[in-house]
Symmetry: C2
Subunit: 310 residues, 2 copies
Amino acid sequence: MSHEFDLIERIRGQVGRSSRVKVGIGDDAAVLDWSQHPECLVTVDMLMEGIDFTLDSATPEQIGRKALAVNLSDIAAMAGRPTACVVAVALPRRGGFELGQRLMAGLLPLAQEFDVALAGGDTNTWEGPLVLSITVLGEPTGRGPVLRSGARPGDWIFVTGPLGGSLSGHHLDFTPRIREAQALHAATTLHSLIDISDGLAADLGHILQESRVGALLEAEAIPIAPAATGMSRRDGQSPLRHALADGEDFELILTVSPQEGERLLAKPPQGVTLYWIGQVTETAGLSLKQPDGKLESLSDWGWKHGFRDQ
Amino acid sequence: MSHEFDLIERIRGQVGRSSRVKVGIGDDAAVLDWSQHPECLVTVDMLMEGIDFTLDSATPEQIGRKALAVNLSDIAAMAGRPTACVVAVALPRRGGFELGQRLMAGLLPLAQEFDVALAGGDTNTWEGPLVLSITVLGEPTGRGPVLRSGARPGDWIFVTGPLGGSLSGHHLDFTPRIREAQALHAATTLHSLIDISDGLAADLGHILQESRVGALLEAEAIPIAPAATGMSRRDGQSPLRHALADGEDFELILTVSPQEGERLLAKPPQGVTLYWIGQVTETAGLSLKQPDGKLESLSDWGWKHGFRDQ
């Protein structure tokens, strides 16, 4: 953190300070008082102009907020509590100072909402597009981090909100499901947990792969966001397809035993919305059951990396 | 860390594993067993193509190594011990997979050398230039982190190696002064410490500013790297000027009491080279004393951020 300019220097240790982590200020590395935390969660996400946002369709405040929110969603995906973050940015030389200030103006209220200390950063300028890379540190809660690998055959599968069409706006203002994950972790035994960044089919696919199981989803049970319907009207794809395939919903997918599933459906933790969408199967593969009983395979809907020559 | 592709997935928890930090693998956030560490250091540095390196003049292995090394240097600047890192990259779509592998091939040996676990990352592709952002976590050693703010009038000022001309090659193969900082921290009471990323004058300036003191450097005592002399031949600036102003030497600047300074000069810790370069003064400002006794002010040699319209 050698090239901080006063944008981050100025606010570090003042705004966005955490009540749980003491941040030592003003040096090459931040010092976090970590004595309450035998384990540490760490996650990083990089957002790039033209890929994760455009400056035409999002305000700098929304972009700054989103850059932190996607990282908080990763901490939520392990039922963790975020504690501190560091922010690296590549800003365009022209207008970059104001842009940087506006990014921070969007990021800081979210940091404060979730009691996350801004522990430092690295601010750079260039002639290239805007890039933000945020690293968030956190601590596990309750019985420790919930992984992707614990799903068992028979588990009920839930999501925490309606899905699809997020890129028409919701990806810029979603609330990371930190509170929901902790409430669920406290209320039940979560077998597996993940956040939806690549899409329901793709991210459930991660759980299935790492748990070595399969799943059967009920088409009629998938909760469809109004934005998915709106997008469907424009592109002709079905709203259901949007709900299954669209990325950036940042809702949680969780699996629990059928007994716990029934209990949760009857009385979900306060503030948590749960939609049952299907069940984990012993047989590998991800299938969708249509209302008429027909099965469709979704196994190939996984996220693909973007290399041209691989 | 939602978009890791197998480049980082594959090596996480296998190569670059630390003997001191247990890394939980395969999920949205890494889990670090932090129980031995009541305090945590965290630092981030972002390297951008065209600013911090060019693909014409450096190999991908050198760039990957440098991206980690500059962060390790920040941990050294606090006399800390690095423990884990996360790596976010924006790779060009064309050729990006091979480029990513080569970046990692350069980064990992350095991580292993300093026992730093690669705890995860975020790999992205786009049409833009190469960007790497690395966050390093560490732990303080000995009596805790050494800050920039502890320099006192009368302190002797040392650097750990010859300076200047680093951009002609040394910035790609320097060894972060992790071991030296720890050896010094164990051997003496360091009043202040920083690594030279922006240049001797600029980084010593940070110490002076945060300690509210000044300094007088002896021109003849500044150790000049051969690369500074070589660069001088090409650009006509004096080698001394290069040693004072050039960035990216990544040597340490330290200040200690005169008594400790004498003791260190007589018997430096094993493996540590020390050059006395001057003294801290009560009067603010940074001055250079020429052999003829004339004083030159270096106070304005600080690093400037690159915004066009500020």
